[in-house]
Amino acid sequence: MLQGWVIVLVAFAYLGVLFAVAYYGDKRAEAGRSIIANPYIYALSLAVYCSTWTFYGSVGRAASTGIGFLPVYLGPTLMVALWWYTMRKIIRITKAYRITSIADFISSRYGKSQMLGRLVTVIAVIGVIPYISLQLKAISGSFTILRHYPRIVMPAQAVAQPILNDTALYIALMLAAFTILFGTRHLDATERHEGLVAAIAFESVVKLLGFLVVGAFVTFGIYRGFGEIFRLAQQVPRLRALMTVADTGNTYGTWGFLTFLSMLSIVTLPRQFQISVVENVDEDHLRKAIWLFPLYLFLINVFVLPIALGGMMLFAGRGVDADTFVLTLPMAQQKEALALFAFIGGLSAGTGMVIVETIALSTMVCNDLVMPVLLRVKWLRLNERPDLSRLLLSIRRWAITGILMLGYIHFRAAGEAYALVATGLISFAAVAQFAPAIFGGIYWRGGTRDGAIAGLSAGFAVWAYTLLLPSFAKSGWLPASFLTEGPFGIPLLKPQQLFGLSGLDEISHCLFWSMLANIGIHVVVSLAGRQSITETGQATMFVDVFRRTQAPERSGLWRGSAAVEDLLPLLGRFLGPDRAREAFLAYARRRGVDSPEQLRADADLVAFAETQLAGAIGGASARVMVASLVQEQPPGLDEVMDILDEASQVRAYSRQLEQKSRELEAATAELRAANKLLQELDRMKDDFMSTVTHELRTPLTSIRAFSEILLEDPEIHLPERKRFLAIIVKETQRLTRLINQVLDLSKIESGSAEWHTTELDVHEVIRESVETSSQLFRESRVELVTSAGTDAGPRVMADRDRLVQVLINLLSNAVKVCRPGEGRVEIRLGVSNGFLRVDVQDNGPGISPADHETVFEKFRQVGDTLTGKPKGTGLGLPISRRIVEHFGGRLWVESELGKGATFSFILPLEVPAAKAGPELAQAAG
């Protein structure tokens, strides 16, 4: 039943489902409703760490070393506990500076060095190829095995197969096709692939389920639980030895080194970096991941030992490779469906790893290896091309195919030399070389570009010498004596016992020496050299990222500008014109303008363009491209340090600033109050003006109206004609009075009035006022009484005319309110405390206390509504008050409704009251 075509069909169906999940995820992402914005999805996606190595290889490792398969999972468990600090920082840096790959990260940190980017990419590709080849081996092997059901045969040596018959080749091609489909449908500036993450999370579930089901089947189906398996195994001497580990330093050394190695790899493997950092959507997802991911590892390892032991016992002596137990055990028990499921689980584990790893590698190859070369060599041609996004995508597709082909070649050349796990560990050791550059980069400002290059190169060289070459030797590509006696017969240079260090397994040995070289040289070279300005800037930006980033788009160190007209097409070439325009539009809106054309060409815009571009072609290339547009003056070191040390300076001056800002607040509050007052006054002035114009227009209306009437109509009767003319005359007089008073008031208020201040005899002044008003009093038949006699009265310093004006104003007011025939107005004088006091009292209707101040307001007239509209301009009292106040006095009113009113003013006496007369007696009042 399990014929070849059935298996193939099911495999493609599964891959189809995977693709559908990815497609759905991408569509949801485009619609803005991401399905991966979920910590559980994130934690599951991290399980891409578990490839066929985990699915098949762990059992194989357990069969030979017992518990020795475990450190590779304990390491990540321990590491994620530290992720709270380290991974958070790495993610923050990556998001803030638009980093898109591990090569980008390292190159960006060390001064955006293209050289470093290239180096990292090359090391990554070389280091990971064995890892990819082991996936091919596992998938093709499992397919071959399953195909031969119900017989259990081990796959023949790969070399024996002619290429065109080699399933592994077709698997490699198919994987290439799928990877291209998954990862290169479009260019995303952030290099995120939401659909891919969804698919990976899905396949993590599938492989976990597959393994658990097989494990449960073996433990509880074939045997009767954990206890029985172990009990039975104890009875087999070889197996008993597996129950524990040898109590030797060697063992512990290996254990420790492997744990440490996997701690590093969980961060430095390109696929792990891609999934856990670049694809991360939300820093907070780390929370759940910190315990969910170790839990996943725990679960997928629970049944490893039972399967291994069970397989060993069941297949004793039959030469079945322990790496295949997960598949062959169900097969041996005739569980077809289970075996198929196990195959799918293994397929899932392998494809997940290959897809993500290859995408990550191809991105690096494109951005850090190919593009920089293309940009430099074929400069002119690339300059003319309007849209380079297609070129970028095709470069990546070729890279994916190339990498998989390299994996296949490695598989054919060296795939048989090692078991799955051992091959994987070689890759681990290779990518571990990135760790000093990364962790040093984010915590130590002193790491220089030269130091990183030197350290990386040294570590890689040691790795190649102690692991890669020996693997070739073990596959027969190099003479075996190379291993056993050292090159040219020098024992101290034996690749796996360098300088005589023996007793370590090859991985630990390699790790020790390579880390020693890497870290040592990195530190020494960094300390011995100096950093360039860019390096220093980048170093601080990385190490201090938490302090710096609330604003993701920092201007960085651009000093210069480029116009949008230049930047937009540049971006369009690499991102595609539509995406570029979208990005600029969003940026423009953030800066508060409507269209990108209105954006100011400043350093911020340049930095924005650079980060966007970095997403497509990597940070180093982006810098080169943008720099070609920008007329930039590189900042001097001093300026850079100034810019960057702002923070510390501010801290030092913060107390001063705080105080200054408090003072500023107080001043601002005062200013605000003053402004309000000014506005108030302004408004009042406007009111005054508008009232004045109104008052002026009113008499003018009558004058004009009657003039026109008289002009038009000669037939008007004489009495009426006279009446109208009289009105015209009266209104003219009214107008004149008003204009005079307005001018008067304005002059007094603005201080431009002329004052002729002399010594005055108050009695004389009163007499004069009375005389002038006498006509008015006679006409109104109001009585006027005054106590001012003809003798000399108190003397004040004042303007005679003005004082008379005041008195006349008061008197005429009094007359106007008194009822004809009954009215009585009295003028009283008094002296007290060096002041002269004059009262003008009438027996009119009085003024209610509420209006005592109102009467002194401009244009305000308080009239008895029964008598109709009050006469007068409404300006008399305000003018009088200002006159009195000008001479140092006060004018006020005392009155109650129905009891008349008394207007009083005081003026300072000119001479001390030495010549006081009988008036003094009244001073008591």
Partner: protein, 76 residues
């Protein structure tokens, strides 16, 4: 659609980070020599499971459990 990353609340979660660092150290000790050597005696076992295995998986589970608790209940 990329949701912008949130500012790291490093200060607020300082205690969580420290606790996790403590768990890390604990794990390093528990899962390595010399503590490990205590359990490498042959024979023995818990419910039929050899001592070393039981210890390793048990310690592992313990660490995971502690991390879960620390992360999910930040302020005790």
């Amino acid at each position: 659609m990329m949701r912008s990353f949130r500012g790291g609340h490093v200060k607020r979660s300082g205690i969580t980070g420290q606790r996790l660092a403590a768990i890390f150290l604990m794990g390093c000790i528990l899962l390595n020599y010399p503590i490990l050597s205590l359990f490498t005696r042959p024979g023995g076992g818990i419910a039929g499971i050899p001592l070393l295995y039981a210890y390793l998986f048990g310690a592992w589970a313990l660490l995971i459990g502690l991390m879960a608790v620390v992360v999910e209940r930040p302020r005790d």
